[in-house]
Structure formats: C-alpha cells, structure tokens
C-alpha cells in the first residue's frame, strides 16, 4: 500500500470588496455658481484662489472642510448648492482619502466635481475612487510637493493646470 502526504490547503486572508457602481455627473454647459472646497491643507487656499481667477465672473461658494476627516453634513450641503465643486488639496494619505470620499458624496448628490490631487497620490486616489464605484472621478494632477512652498511657488504650479481645468470644464 502506498501513501502520500498531502499538505492541507490554506485559506486566503484577502477579503472580497464591496462594490457599488455610481454614475459621474456631467458638467453643465455653463455655470454661474461653483463651490471651492478647501480642506485647509497648506497651499489649498492658494490653489483654489488661482483657479478661481481663471474662471471669470461667477459666484464662488467657499467651503472649508477637515483634512483627514469627512466634511460635516452642513459643509456638504453648502458645497452641493453650487453647480459644480472643486476640491483641494489631496497631497497626503488621509486628506486624499477624504477629498476623494467627499467628492464621491457630492457626486452622489448630483454635483459634478474635480479633485486637485498631488501627482504622488494620484494612483492611490484613483484606487480609492475605483473601490468606491466611481472609476472616472475627475482629478487634476498638481506637481508634488505643495506643502512647504511659498504662495508664489504654489501659484506657479497651479497656473500649469489651468489649461487642463478649462478643458475639463469646456471653457469657453
């Protein structure tokens, strides 16, 4: 009689992912009101202010939200009262998480969004967006780093992404 030793199988510690699929909201042809959502990270306010100047005569709703934590319901409502929202700045792990997750919350409420993401964190931001069912969430990449730079330097980096912003928003 012959015997063979067979190793017991091992189970997979990786979990299944909870998937939901969401639809991205298209940008309106023209908009009067835009929300500028600032997560108070260094440079975020300079970025948003520079982008605002490039967008011409419109009504801008300024919203502040926490960096590493979700926006409060009031802050989300405020942002959702605009026709589109630009969120800045995703340049670290937790703030990227919450820029993306808050953008998704706004998209779920029908508000089209653009997230300003440091190019070092774009892959993570994209993964996060995919995991949350919005593969095509719109990001504008800005050159890392932003923290620690002077306002002028941040402005210079922001000017480089303005053509892409205008393209996304179809301006003119």
């Amino acid at each position: 009689m012959s015997y063979k030793l067979v190793e017991r199988g091992v189970l997979n510690p990786l979990a299944d992912v909870e998937v939901k699929k969401l639809d991205l909201n298209p940008f309106p042809d023209d908009f009067e009101r835009a929300a500028l959502v600032d997560n108070t990270k260094p440079g975020a306010n300079v970025i948003l202010s520079t982008l605002k100047d490039a967008l011409g005569n419109r009504l801008f709703i300024k919203v502040k939200k926490p960096a590493g934590a979700p926006a409060t319901p009031e802050q989300v409502q405020q942002a959702a009262s605009a026709e589109l929202a630009i969120l800045a700045l995703a340049d670290c792990g937790s703030c990227t998480s919450w820029v993306v997750l808050d953008a998704i919350r706004l998209e779920e409420m029908g508000v089209p969004t653009i997230c300003i993401v440091s190019d070092h964190f774009t892959p993570f931001a994209r993964e996060l967006a995919i995991n949350h069912g919005l593969d095509e969430l719109r990001f504008l990449e800005i050159e890392h780093p932003i923290a620690g730079l002077s306002n002028d330097d941040v402005e210079e980096k922001t000017l480089k992404i303005i053509p892409a912003l205008k393209y996304l928003l179809q301006i003119p």
């Binding site: 309106p28 042809d29 023209d30 908009f31 009067e32 011409g56 005569n57 053509p163 179809q170 301006i171 003119p172």
Partner: protein
C-alpha cells in the same frame, strides 16, 4: 446661465479698457469657407454681447493678404504655381474680374456678411505695411531680435541662427517673401539673401516685406488694442503661435495679449476642408440653402472647441428640423426635454438671431417642402399642398395664400428658394422624382388594378387627412391581398414612373385631386 459667447463677454468686462476690440483675421489663400470664417462669426457675437452688457466694443477684421501663396487653391490652374511664395496681394485675379487675387476671394465673403448682421471694420495686412503702420514695430523687433530669438528658441527643437531677424523682405529678384533670410540691418535697411540666389537690401518702410508671423500677430494686438481674438486651434497648441505671441506681446511690446478663443475645425462630410483640394463650403453657399440664422445656429449650438461636421446632403434636412424645433421651444410652442435643456436652447437661439421678432416666423417643414416642391414649384400651389396635409400653423389654416401677410409670404418664398437650391445641388437621387404628366405604361395584375380603382373611388367620395388616407390605403390593399410595399410601388410607378417615392398618403394628398383620380383609374 450664459451662452459661451456671453460668458466670454462677461469675463471681458473685468478688463480695464475704454473700448473692447474683438479681432478676427483670415488668410486670403483661396475661397473663404465656413471653417475659416468662424473667427468672424465668433468675434461678432462676442462684440454684440459686450455691447449688450453696456461695454463699448468694435469688431475688426484683418485680411492676411500679405502672406505668401503656399498652395494653389481650387479651382485655379496649375500655372499659378509660378506665384508660390509671392504675397497674395501681388497675385493677379484668376478670372480678370477683380483687381487682384485677394479681392477675388475676399469680395464674395465680405459681401455676404451684412446678411448675417455682421458689421466689421476691415483692414488689409498689405496696406498696413504700405501705410507704414507696422514700421515702429518692425524697427523695435529688429532692435530686440536677440530677445525675440531667445523666446522663439524656447519653443523650438532646432535653435534659430544667431543672425536671424524676425523679418522677411520680399526678394527684389524673384518676388517671393518666404524664401528670404534677413541677416543684418542698419537703420531702416535690412540685408538679406534669398533662396533664388539673390542677395540684396530692403528698406523696411517700403512696406514690401513682412514681420515673421508670431511677431506680426503680437504687433497687431497692440496696434488695434485688441482685447479678444478667436483663432483656429492650431495656434492654440501648447507652445504654439498664441503662447509665443503672448510672450512677444508682453516682453517686447509691453501689451497684454487678448482673451483667446480657440476653435476647432469644421469638416465637410468628414473630410478636412482644404482650399487646394476644393473641399470647402462658403457662407455664400450656405445662404443658397439656409437662412443666415441657421449658420449662426450651426456655429453657436456647441462650444468652439467641439468638432463640427457639416453635410449639406440628407443630414441638412435633420439639421433644419432641429433648428425649427429650437425655434418652437423658444417661442413656447413646444416643450423641451427638461428645464435645463430649455434654458440652454433658448440661449443658443437668441444668440443666433440677427433681428428680434415678437412672434414665431412661418416655418413650413423644410423636409416636407422638398417633396411638395417637386410636385408643384409654384408658391401658391405649395401652400395649398401644405394646407391639404395639415402642415400649416393653426392661425393660418383658414387663410388662402393671397390672404397672407407680406413678410410671411416673403419668408415662405425664401425657404422655397432654399429648398429648390438644395434639391438642385445636394439632394441625393433617391429623394428626387417627377410627376409624369402622361400615363406611364405599366403592367398590373387584377389585384393591383382593383386596389387603384377602389382608392380612386374612396378619394372621390370624401376628403381625407393624411392619417385617414394612410389607414384607408392599408385597409384597401389588405382587402386585395396585396403586400404594402408592392401596393405603394404600383402607385409610384403609375404616377412617377419609378418604384420609389415620398410617403404615399401625404404625397397623394399633395397632388391635384382630379388628376390623381383619373390617373388611379388609368384614364389619363
């Protein structure tokens, strides 16, 4: 919400200027088509929007008639190749009808503009050089050539020669302006050599040579105080003409570059428009088949960077239908799909109009007219066909053609003329037909014969609407055991002498009743 032309105007109100100057420019290298006349239409719309906002604004147009000929435009003969490299302003008119090449192509274009409500101040690039308008700028550019070179080189793979100057004299030997290389200057005199072998000198104030394009463009901005300019998207590429001219404007001429409005090309049936290959469609050609508002609508219904394709054949009918629908929505005669859509369409319509109107104009279906016209080309006859087919608006249903107001009749005749031209120039064969005045000889089987007779009887007995006639025809052909397609073919064969034709019921109602009944009975 604002239309994009209004949005540009709104942004421009932030500029601290006494008067806005919206510039457009066209290279007179051949027929000016709807693709390269976009500048003019956009500039005019922006200027008008600025005026509505209470700003002072004027629209200017500069003919790039001093540029060298690069390709022989259609339909000029190959012999014109002798003029390659020569400024357009110095090339003769190909048909001896105009002063020169420039006027030959420019005149038909400029002549149509008033129809579009476009009011321009026109300038000739060549004349500007001759009148010395550029002189100071040429001088400054020569003096600051090293800096200009430096700026240019930042956007070039191969750097320019150390002695390169931003100026192209016209060769006194061969007459070409794109083959010369200016390498030195003293005062107003520039030394150059030409590819033809000639070496010479030129006085920059003579107006014969020209500044290199990107410098010239920047100079123009300051000369006219331009605050906004639309241009083809090839100039908008990163590191392209606009970027370079913007720097030249700021660093050499100390002037703020205008608000740019790049626009995408228009293709014709999917092909890029090409003057040399004869692929183009001019505003004049448009007016033959459509009202000027419809061209405005075509250009303004989407954003400037959205690609537009134009097809004057069958798709043109869909296009006019779309325009008419937007017009109905504007006047509240039809509902849009949503409030957002309504807002958007109203804006587009408004911006496309040349004159304001209180009421919706008479808009008989263009598509329907293409059929009606072929049955009876007379306006009154067509009007009656419309009436018989319930194609008239309610308030006109009881009116005869003679009872219509003058401007309604005028508008009607205009559209009829457009339809006639469309049929003659762009309609594919399958939409064309001719009512045979003589009875064509056709072999019919008994069922088919019976069907026609029954149909004639029915028509004699009563009047039908087109839905009712349609139902009746189906009923009769079923009675005879005929397939619908076969039954209709029979009708077309005995009336048109061919197997296909327009929609049967409304077609029959469009014909003169007596004639139709006799024909169905095969009496005449």
């Amino acid at each position: 919400m604002k239309h994009w032309t209004e949005r540009i105007a709104s942004d421009l109100t932030n500029w601290d200027v006494e008067e806005h100057v919206v510039a457009s420019g066209t290279s007179i290298s051949g027929s000016i088509h709807i693709g390269n006349s976009c500048d003019v239409f956009i500039a005019n719309a922006v200027s008008k929007s600025l005026q509505k906002l209470g700003e002072k604004s004027r629209t200017i147009w500069i003919a790039d008639d001093h540029d060298p000929l690069r390709k022989v435009p259609y339909p000029l003969p190959d012999s014109y190749e002798e003029y390659l490299g020569v400024p357009y302003s110095q090339i003769p008119c190909p048909e001896n009808c105009c002063r020169n090449f420039v006027e030959h192509f420019q005149k038909p274009f400029l002549d149509t503009l008033p129809v579009f409500g476009i009011d321009l101040e026109t300038y000739s690039g060549a004349k500007m050089y001759q009148d010395g308008v550029y002189n100071d700028y040429i001088k400054k550019s020569l003096e600051r050539a090293p800096k200009i070179r430096e700026i240019f080189n930042q956007y070039r793979e191969k750097p320019l020669g150390e002695d390169w100057l931003p100026y192209n004299p016209i060769c006194s030997e061969c007459g070409r302006v794109n083959t010369t290389y200016a390498r030195d200057f003293q005062g107003n005199t520039v030394q150059y050599r030409c590819q033809c072998g000639h070496e010479g000198e030129m006085d920059i104030t003579s107006g014969e040579g020209k500044l290199t394009w990107r410098v010239e463009w920047a100079a123009r901005w300051k000369i006219f105080g331009v605050t906004c300019e639309p241009f083809g998207k090839d100039h908008a590429a990163s590191g392209g003409s606009y970027d370079v001219s913007k720097r030249i404007s700021s660093e050499i001429f100390d002037y703020r570059a205008p608000y740019p409005v790049p626009y995408e090309w228009i293709t014709l049936k999917g092909d890029a428009m090409s003057k040399s290959q004869g692929v183009f469609f001019t505003p004049g050609q448009w007016l033959e088949i459509g009202s000027p508002e419809t061209l405005n609508y075509f250009l303004f219904r989407s954003k400037p960077l959205k690609h537009k394709d134009f097809n004057p054949e069958m798709p043109f009918l869909d296009f006019i239908d779309q325009y008419d629908r937007v017009e109905r929505i504007y006047y509240g005669k039809e509902e849009a799909a949503s409030q957002k859509e309504e807002e958007k369409l109203r804006k587009i319509y408004e911006v496309s109009q040349i004159n304001n109107r209180d009421e919706i104009p008479f808009q008989p279906s263009y598509r329907f007219l293409t059929v009606a016209y072929q049955i009876n080309p007379e306006p009154e006859g067509i009007y009656n066909i419309l009436k018989a087919n319930s194609q008239l608006p309610e308030k006109m249903e009881k009116l005869s053609y003679q009872e219509l107001e003058d401007d309604t009749r005028e508008k009607f005749r205009e559209r009829l003329n457009q339809v006639k031209n469309w049929l003659g120039l762009y309609a594919p064969n399958f939409v064309k037909f001719q009512v045979q005045q003589e009875l064509p000889s056709v072999e019919l089987n008994p069922a088919q014969e019976e069907f026609l007779v029954e149909l004639a009887d029915a028509l004699e007995r009563q009047d039908f609407t087109s839905e009712e006639l349609h139902d009746q025809m189906y009923h009769l052909l079923k009675e005879q055991g005929l397939k619908p397609q076969k039954a209709f073919q029979v009708i077309y064969r005995i009336i048109l002498g061919q197997k296909q034709g327009p929609r049967a019921a409304s077609f029959l109602l469009s014909l003169e009743k007596d004639f139709l009944i006799k024909r169905l009975r095969r009496e005449a």
